[in-house]
């Protein structure tokens, strides 16, 4: 067994796990090691789920000019516990004509797939559950299982609305997975690896005290924005929440689920959101690394969760701000805008890789030239594309025939 790492604040969780493993008898060491990691992931992200639900209800309340939950505990902070008790004690109703086995399995498959994605996320220095050589590929491969789970839920409920919701969800997920994967390809190209921990290590290097985050480069910034838009759509978050569309198909694919199974769908949706945000952080925002070197004393796992919370707050903000898209707008946006833009981001990353670092013997000039060229490669197509897509469309004041 390897020696214990130093119990610094940065490595405290690694140290605790190593201590626990060392103090168990040899035959059970592997088991204890696995259980430690799995339990930690489940506990931490399930509590983050509770926290986020509260944040979201409070935040949406503020945005919509109301209070939000404020009855359970001081300022309503114990609301998640009340929600959990409520969903646990509710009756679990299965429609008589439903396909019972598939109906039962769907939420389980969904939650299991969502949790599996965390296996490759580096949530701190030396804190990757499974350090796979093809970590990014693993993440997307596991994400594929959730599409099937959504279909299982929608089909087995024997309800036209749930089937419509599932169809919408799958069409949307398949369409937006393309820009999601293509925008991460730019990072894989520059980092030269598919391993998530190696990508973070690559970004943790600093020059003049500033980290090499990919979001600090023109292609990385554009890629990050595209990635997060695609992530919003893949996780069915507003403004891309058509699969749930309360006003037209009631609640989409989980309409026939009640009680704890409904809570599982809810949990899986948030887990997917955390996971994909975590991947965005890993790929573009330097994972657990600090942006400037004088802040490097803050433990790495705090950096990761701080970034995650910021992204979650952005998700909540967007949800409270933007209206829902229509199906044709959704598909047009994916195939006519997102897909070409991600291809240009890949082109820009390629140019970034091969442009010389120094021009005429000056590193500063070289950096400026590289920056400008790569930014132009992204910005020019953006302008042209936006103009082309907007041309021929008249935006005028809408007349509401029945509302006046």
């Amino acid at each position: 067994m390897t020696a214990l790492p130093a119990p610094t604040a940065d490595q405290i969780w690694v140290w605790i796990k190593a201590w626990l493993v060392i103090h168990t008898p040899a035959p059970f060491q592997a088991l204890v090691s696995i259980v430690c990691i799995v339990a930690a992931i489940i506990v931490v992200f399930a509590s983050l789920f509770a926290l986020t639900v509260l944040l979201e209800r409070k935040g949406l309340g503020r945005i919509q000019n109301r209070y939000g939950p404020n009855r359970v505990g001081p300022c309503g902070i114990l609301q998640p516990i009340a929600d959990a008790v409520k969903s646990l004690t509710k009756e679990d109703i299965v429609p008589r004509s439903a396909d019972h086995v598939v109906h039962y399995l769907a939420p389980l498959v969904l939650v299991a797939a969502s949790f599996l994605a965390y296996a490759v996320l580096p949530i701190g220095r030396n804190m990757t559950a499974v350090n796979l050589d093809a970590g990014v590929l693993f993440f997307f491969a596991i994400g594929a299982a959730s599409e099937l789970a959504v279909f299982m839920a929608g089909w087995s409920s024997r309800n036209k609305y749930s089937l419509l919701g599932a169809m919408r969800a799958i069409a949307q997920m398949v369409s937006y997975e393309v820009p999601l994967i293509l925008s991460s390809i730019a990072v894989v190209m520059i980092a030269g690896t598919l391993s998530t921990s190696a990508i973070v290590h690559e970004q943790a290097r600093t020059t003049h005290g500033i980290a090499h985050w990919y979001a600090f480069t023109p292609w990385g910034l554009a890629g990050f924005i595209l990635f997060m838009i695609a992530a919003t759509a893949v996780t069915n978050r507003s403004p891309f929440d058509l699969p749930e569309g309360e006003s037209e198909i009631i609640a989409g694919y989980f309409i026939e689920y009640s009680g704890f199974k409904f809570a599982l769908f809810f949990l899986a949706e948030y887990l997917e959101m955390f996971a994909v945000s975590g991947l965005g952080i890993t790929l573009f925002l330097g994972g657990w690394s600090s942006p400037v070197s004088f802040l490097a004393w803050i433990p790495s796992w705090i950096w990761f969760f701080a970034k995650l919370l910021v992204l979650i707050c952005c998700f909540i903000w967007v949800r409270g701000t933007l209206p829902r898209l229509r199906m044709d707008q959704l598909m047009n946006f994916a195939w006519k805008f997102m897909l070409p833009m991600t291809l240009f981001v890949i082109l820009s990353a390629g140019i970034w890789r091969f442009l010389p670092v120094t021009v005429a013997g000056s590193a500063a000039l070289g950096a400026v030239v590289r920056w400008l060229v790569c930014a132009l490669v992204v910005l020019l197509p953006y302008g042209t594309l936006a103009r082309t897509l907007e041309s021929g469309r008249k935006i005028e004041k809408r007349e509401y025939r029945f509302a006046d």
């Binding site: 590929l137 491969a141 994400g143 299982a145 599409e147 099937l148």
Partner: protein, 178 residues
């Protein structure tokens, strides 16, 4: 022993999925069982240390092919009809064919020398990197040809699915709509 127990579990899972895909009565159930079989196969690849093959299998078969099958079932037949499990008179012939294929594969594996551990070449230290270099350097021409073929197939499919523009006639007012 440590490698055979996971292998046995995965092998049973894969075979059970395959058998269920052929014997279940509902078409969607068959598709889901087939997916279990695909996933089991992917796990077998991973168990053998072929990370890329396993994950690509998961991504392509569970993520794309299974969804495609399910969509095809739903869009063509409604997915509701309970077809009787078909024991066609061609069953024995099929069994003979399957056995013949199995025999050929088993013979090929046995004579290739890969069945004996000593003959297996050691994996490169960074398999993903080695695979990438092989695809981009040595096998770049086949890769490009496949890419071109797939693009052509995709464009062909889109053209087939495109609604044909009919000349504007009074009988079809819908096609005249913008």
């Amino acid at each position: 022993m440590r490698t055979t127990v996971p292998f046995l579990i995965l092998a049973v899972l894969t075979l059970a999925g395959g058998v269920a895909a052929m014997t279940l009565r509902r078409l969607v159930h068959c598709a889901l069982a087939l997916t279990v079989s695909f996933a089991g196969l992917a796990a077998l690849y991973l168990n053998l240390g072929a990370e890329f093959a396993g994950l690509a299998q998961l991504l392509v078969y569970v993520g794309a092919i299974a969804i495609l099958i399910v969509f095809a079932i739903l869009l063509t037949r409604g997915g509701d009809d309970k077809a009787e499990p078909s024991f066609s008179p061609a069953g024995p012939a099929g069994a003979v064919l399957a056995l013949a294929v199995f025999a050929v594969l088993a013979w090929a594996v046995e004579t290739s020398g890969l069945a004996h551990p000593a003959a297996i070449p050691a994996a490169p230290p960074e398999p993903m990197r080695a695979l990438g270099f092989a695809l981009m350097q040595r096998y770049v021409l086949p890769l490009e040809v496949i890419g071109l073929m797939l693009t052509a197939a995709m464009i062909g499919a889109v053209i087939l699915a495109l609604r044909e523009k009919r000349p504007q006639t009074p009988e079809s007012p819908r096609s005249a709509a913008p």
